[in-house]
Structure formats: structure tokens, C-alpha cells
């Protein structure tokens, strides 16, 4: 990939300033109708089995999301940030990663978490309020969710600078980093600083922006007057826009950008053009700020239906596959529901744990005093 990607796209692109309507050009390999098309820069050799596996990922992460929303509605989770509509962007990019690559997510990357082998119940822990992130990032090469918008892009860039210093860039076994963020985050100073750092250090990092068109209630035109992928050119590295609802295109584009990073060609900005079909989180009410017609338009571009249509039309699977997947989906849903309901609250003394590596007399004293205080009550389980 070269800087020409952005330059070429920019010159051929007649988008209005906001970038909000249908993009004139993006990388697409599977149309919303399920028709496979080719792109000269992104050839994708993929077997029927691999496409079925992607389809399974898409269906299961949507099911996990669906179950989590239900759990929130029933008071079992404090809040949930739905990924509905963004499954292809997350699964496509997530499956483009190698085991040694490192991912830095926002708080909505449930599909990427799935691809990194993380137990979905760990995500529920966070949204239930049991932990701030109950998984070991090193075990999955999947960092903790980051809630402050854009902060993780700098962590990803620093991590990539560490890869450079470890001599783990270039060659066949190179490593790279992917940083996830949204359209709103592109206004943050940290994201722009991350672009600068990655550019001047040529760090092996891919910036994967899921442009889901809405930052809570604010549409893209509140963040940018130019299509987001074009910003990369100003920082000195390639930017590319991909159909974020096309899992094949997201896979191919991310794969190529990650490979370029691993080989020492530096960063790429990928703008996955998608849509947040649900609310920002379960506390949000999108009917206050956007039209139902917009949602209807995007329903026609559903990331899962197009893969199903492709599989069926090309006789790449059978009814049993869909039936088995439906059963597996129900099983996953039931499993995480059960795990959520059975999740105990942490011990109150956990408040004082893991603040510091080294012993801290102040915290020990506060902990002991609070424990003694609790002991003055008879009924408190500890």
C-alpha cells in the first residue's frame, strides 16, 4: 500500500464535505445484495469454509450483543455499548490479525474480542460493574477496553514503537498493532498526536476507525469537513476507506495494512464506513436526534444478510449449517446469560487491591480500618 491509495481515492471522490451520504468510492468485495466483486488492489483468495467461519463469527457476536442488551434491560448489567451493525468491521479486521499482533480496543469491540479468543463473559463483568476489565491482555494480545475516547491510540503507537525497538518489525515474523477508535475520536488531540507519532517514527500500527456516523447524538459533520480517511494524507501515511459492512473487504484491507506495518512500511488509517444500528449505549435514545428513514436505508446494507445471500446463492453451504449455527448461537446466548446471573460481586476488600505493585502503608491502613468497620455489622457477608 502506498500513499497513492489516499491520493487516488481523494481525486476520484466527489463526496460532499461531510462524507455522510453514500461514499463515492470505497473498497467493497461483497455487495449488500451478496454479489462478490473484485478490487484490483485487494484480491482476496478465500475458501467457502473460511467464509462460513466468518459468517459464524458475525452471527455469534450479534447474538452475544443481543443477549447483553437483554441482560441490561433486566437490570443485570449497568450499561451496554451495542455493536449492532458493526459486526463486519470488527470481525473482518479482527480475523486479519496474527496471533502476535496486538489490538487496542475502545469499549465497543466485542467482535474483535471474540476474534481474539476472549470469553464474552469477561466483557459482561465490565458492564456489570464486577471489574474494570477482567482479562489478561497479554494472554489474548487484546488490551483492556478504553473508555476515555482516543487514549488507546497513543498506547497502541507506543507499543508499536516497542516492537520496533525489539527488532520485531520487518521479515516474515514481524509484529504489528491495531488501534480501534470511532469517528468522534478523530477530533481528540490524542488521536491526532498518535497519527503524528506513528508517522514520524514509522511505527507498525494500523489505525482502524469505525465511522459509524454518530458520536452519541453528533453526526459526522460535527467532527469533520473531509472524509476521515483523507486525513491520513496530511499526516504522511496512506488512508483507505472500506465498506465497513463488508466482512470480506474489511478482512482484505486490514490484512494488507497489517502486513505493510509488519514489513516496516509504517502506519495506515483505515476508515470502515459503517453504521451504528442501535443506540450509543443502553442509556441513549437515538430517536431524539436521527431519522428512522436513515436506519431503514442501512438495514438494507446489513453485514450478515449479504454473507448469507452469497453463501446460499453460490450453494456454498446447506440448511444444516444454518440450523447448527442457530443452535450454537442459542447455546452461546444461554451460556453467557447463565454466567452473568451467577457472577458474584467482588469482595469489598478488592477495592484496595492492585493499586500499587509495592506495599503501601496508607492503603493497608484504610483497608484495615474499613474491614474493622464492616466487622461492626453482623449481616455483612465478606
Amino acid at each position: 500500500m502506498t500513499v497513492n491509495d489516499a491520493g487516488r481515492a481523494a481525486s476520484a471522490d466527489s463526496l460532499p464535505a461531510s462524507g455522510q451520504p453514500e461514499p463515492a468510492e470505497f473498497v467493497q468485495l461483497l455487495t449488500p445484495e451478496g454479489e462478490r466483486i473484485d478490487h484490483p488492489d485487494y484480491p482476496l483468495e478465500i475458501s467457502a469454509e473460511e467464509i462460513r467461519a466468518l459468517y459464524r463469527d458475525l452471527v455469534l457476536v450479534r447474538r452475544i450483543d443481543f443477549e447483553a442488551i437483554a441482560l441490561q434491560r433486566q437490570g443485570q448489567l449497568g450499561i451496554w455499548a451495542s455493536l449492532l451493525g458493526q459486526e463486519a468491521a470488527q470481525v473482518g479486521s479482527g480475523r486479519a490479525l496474527g496471533p502476535k499482533d496486538m489490538a487496542f480496543p475502545t469499549y465497543r469491540e466485542h467482535g474483535v474480542a471474540w476474534c481474539r479468543g476472549l470469553d464474552p463473559t469477561k466483557l459482561l463483568e465490565l458492564y456489570r460493574g464486577v471489574s474494570h476489565g477482567g482479562w489478561d491482555p497479554k494472554a489474548h494480545n487484546f488490551h483492556l477496553y478504553t473508555i476515555v475516547i482516543g487514549s488507546q491510540t497513543l498506547h497502541a503507537t507506543g507499543y508499536a514503537m516497542g516492537i520496533q525497538r525489539d527488532g520485531a518489525v520487518g521479515g516474515d515474523d514481524g509484529e504489528a498493532v491495531i488501534a480501534y477508535f470511532g469517528d468522534g475520536a478523530t477530533s481528540q488531540g490524542d488521536v491526532n498526536e498518535a497519527f503524528i507519532w506513528a508517522s514520524v517514527t514509522n511505527a507498525p500500527v494500523v489505525f482502524f476507525c469505525q465511522n459509524n456516523q454518530w458520536a452519541i447524538s453528533e453526526p459526522l459533520e460535527r467532527q469533520s469537513r473531509v472524509p476521515l480517511y483523507r486525513r491520513a494524507l496530511g499526516f504522511g501515511f496512506p488512508g483507505i476507506r472500506v465498506d465497513g459492512n463488508d466482512v470480506l473487504a474489511c478482512l482484505a484491507v486490514t490484512r494488507k495494512a497489517m502486513q505493510a506495518a509488519r514489513e516496516g512500511q509504517g502506519p495506515t488509517l483505515i476508515e470502515a464506513f459503517t453504521y451504528r444500528m442501535g443506540a450509543h449505549t443502553t442509556t441513549d435514545d437515538p430517536t431524539r436526534y436521527r431519522l428512522a428513514a436513515e436506519l431503514e436505508t442501512w438495514k438494507l446494507k446489513d453485514p450478515i444478510e449479504r454473507v448469507k445471500a452469497y453463501l446460499v446463492r453460490n450453494e456454498m453451504t446447506d440448511e444444516k449449517f444454518f440450523a447448527d449455527l442457530e443452535a450454537e448461537s442459542a447455546e452461546v446466548g444461554a451460556r453467557i446469560r447463565k454466567a452473568c446471573l451467577e457472577m458474584p460481586d467482588p469482595d469489598p476488600m478488592a477495592i484496595f487491591e492492585n493499586v500499587y505493585v509495592e506495599p503501601n502503608a496508607l492503603l493497608e491502613s484504610e483497608r484495615d480500618q474499613y474491614a474493622a468497620y464492616l466487622d461492626t455489622f453482623e449481616e455483612v457477608a465478606r
Partner: protein, 327 residues
């Protein structure tokens, strides 16, 4: 023993850390070829290379944010914030990310990052170059906050901070950079006072003066002056601002019955307020007077032609010492 300025002692300490651990990195604005605006990193890039002594883009949040990423990868970055007043663009990364990473990962992640901040006034500088923001960091759980006051501590404490697995905010007393002392750079740090311990600078029996950073020298001089008037002042350099070495503080105050806390930062919501509350809770029955505070006024830092009025000096420390005898 070598006679070193505080700035040079830090330089020697950083050099030792770079030599002893290949994972140690130095990063900041102008820390490379220039050697830092106070020359604390002078010559280090020449000897350790551009990959380890890194001239960064001019953005403090980026410095700390990428340092976090490097630490996640196994490095031990030492960030320089050029001046106290420029730490605020990095405040978000320090307080929301650096301080909390170990906690939110339930101990799976550690961030051994040091953030060096030249602090305090007294050098005739323009705005934003003379501040003392330590209380903003001592208020944040997950951070260690320390301040060195002389070349001997500067040399040892910077190395101890770098070897600490917790994030450390390291305050350097700007107007003491040129103070000299004999520093033993030959041996190791085995005999060095631990990073979380306070140090009695002057022993005394009548009143305890607690201080840190640039005020240590001022308070030690005040103790000499008070001694000439027949008052025995004990001066304690806190060194560690978070956590506080309350054991040493309480022992001294229980013995003297009087306590003055001195710092350059505004007293309102300052570290002296925290210390006063804790001393009152723990030493109440041994106290002869309330804890008195000496510090900056609750104003923005004034233009430098007025800073001698703003900064607590020997006379203001003595005035507070005298007032503890008025109860």
C-alpha cells in the same frame, strides 16, 4: 565522592539507569541533542543512541501516552515534561490511564513509567514555568509522587524511581538545579534511603518543620537561624509525597508537639492540608499548637518580579515557627 550539581547528579543517575537496564528509555522534548533545557539529559543521546534517548514531537499527552504503550511492551520509559506548567496536556493520560492501569487490569499490567517534572519558582521565569502541581497528583490513587531536594537524593532517587514498578511522578526543584554537593557515584544503591522514606535533615526538639523539594534548603537555613535564637527546630524532608512516611512524621511531631508544613504550592487544598489533618488525627494529645502551613498564596503564580513575595522564604518559615509558640 564527586562534587556535582543537582542537575548533574540527575544526569549521572539517569546514565546509571540506562547502563544497568537496556529497557530504560528517556523521552521528551529537547532531551536528545540539546540535553534538555536544564541539561539534565546532557550527553545521554550521544552515548545511548536515538532509540533510547528520544527527542519526541512537541505534545505532552503524546509523550506520556506512548510511554504507556512502551511500558506495556516491557520498556521502562522516563519522560521529561519540560516545565511544571506544561504537564497539563498530559494530565489526562497520567490520571485516567497511567495511574489506573494496574488497578483496572487487576494486577495483570504494570506501568513502570517515571515522569520527571522540573517544578517550583525562583528563577525569574515567565508564566507556566514556576508552578508546583504536586497535590494534583498526590490526590490520584495509583501514582507514586516524590520530590528530591539535594544532589545526593537526586542521584539516588531517580534510580530508585526508575526501578520502581509503579508509575512515579518525580519532581525536581528547578531553582536548586545548580546547588552542589558531594555525591558518591561509585557504589550501588544498597545503602540508599528507600524511596518511600522521609529523612531528618536537622534534628531538633521544639518544633517539627516538614518540607520537600526546593523548600528543604530554605527550612534547613531557618533551623540554623532559629537555633541562634535558642529554638531547636527539627527539619524533615518528606521525599515521598505519596505515600507519605507518616511514621516518621508522627514520631517527630509527638516528640516536639509542634508542626509547621512548608511548600511553594498554594496552601488551599495543598499537601500541607492533608498533612495537617493527619497529624491532628494522630498526634492531637501531644500537640501544643495547631499545625501551621507556610506556602504560596491561593492565587495564580505571580509575575516573576513579585515571586519573592509569593515564595515562602526563611523569614516566613521562622514566622510560622514563632507562631506555634503563641498558643
Amino acid at each position: 565522592m564527586t562534587r556535582l550539581t543537582l542537575s548533574r547528579a540527575l544526569n549521572e543517575g539517569l546514565r546509571k539507569a540506562l547502563e544497568n537496564d537496556p529497557k530504560v528509555l528517556i523521552m521528551g522534548e529537547d532531551v536528545g541533542k540539546l540535553g534538555g533545557v536544564f541539561r539534565v539529559t546532557d550527553g545521554l543521546q550521544k552515548d545511548f543512541g536515538e532509540a533510547r534517548v528520544v527527542d519526541t514531537p512537541l505534545a505532552e499527552s503524546g509523550i506520556v501516552g506512548t510511554a504507556i504503550g512502551l511500558a506495556l511492551r516491557g520498556y521502562r520509559p522516563v519522560c521529561e515534561i519540560q516545565f511544571d506548567g506544561f504537564v497539563f496536556p498530559a494530565f489526562d493520560q497520567i490520571t485516567t490511564q497511567l495511574a489506573k492501569m494496574r488497578y483496572r487490569s487487576r494486577g495483570n499490567l504494570t506501568l513502570p513509567v517515571v515522569i520527571r517534572i522540573p517544578c517550583g519558582g525562583g528563577i525569574g521565569a515567565v508564566e507556566h514555568h514556576s508552578e508546583s502541581p504536586e497535590a494534583l497528583f498526590t490526590h490520584t490513587g495509583g501514582l507514586r509522587v516524590v520530590a528530591c531536594g539535594d544532589p545526593v537524593d537526586a542521584y539516588a532517587m531517580i534510580q530508585l524511581a526508575i526501578s520502581c514498578d509503579d508509575p512515579v511522578i518525580f519532581f525536581e526543584p528547578k531553582r536548586r538545579y545548580w546547588d552542589k554537593a558531594e555525591v558518591d557515584t561509585g557504589g550501588g544503591l544498597a545503602a540508599a534511603l528507600p524511596l518511600n522514606k522521609a529523612r531528618t535533615v536537622v534534628s531538633g526538639t521544639d518544633v517539627t518543620v516538614l518540607c520537600y523539594g526546593p523548600m528543604v534548603k530554605t527550612c534547613a537555613a531557618a533551623a540554623v537561624a532559629a537555633g541562634n535564637e535558642g529554638r531547636s527546630v527539627e527539619v524533615i524532608d518528606l521525599r515521598s509525597l505519596s505515600p507519605l512516611d507518616t511514621e516518621t512524621i508522627f514520631e517527630s511531631v509527638r516528640r516536639t508537639g509542634r508542626c509547621v508544613v512548608a511548600h511553594e504550592a498554594p496552601v488551599t487544598g495543598g499537601l500541607s492540608a492533608e498533612i495537617a489533618a493527619r497529624v491532628t488525627e494522630e498526634c492531637f494529645y501531644q500537640m501544643e499548637s495547631p499545625v501551621l502551613r507556610v506556602g504560596g498564596f491561593s492565587t495564580p503564580y505571580p509575575p516573576s518580579r513579585l515571586e519573592e513575595h509569593y515564595l515562602p522564604d526563611l523569614d516566613r518559615v521562622l514566622d510560622a515557627v514563632d507562631r506555634t509558640f503563641g498558643y
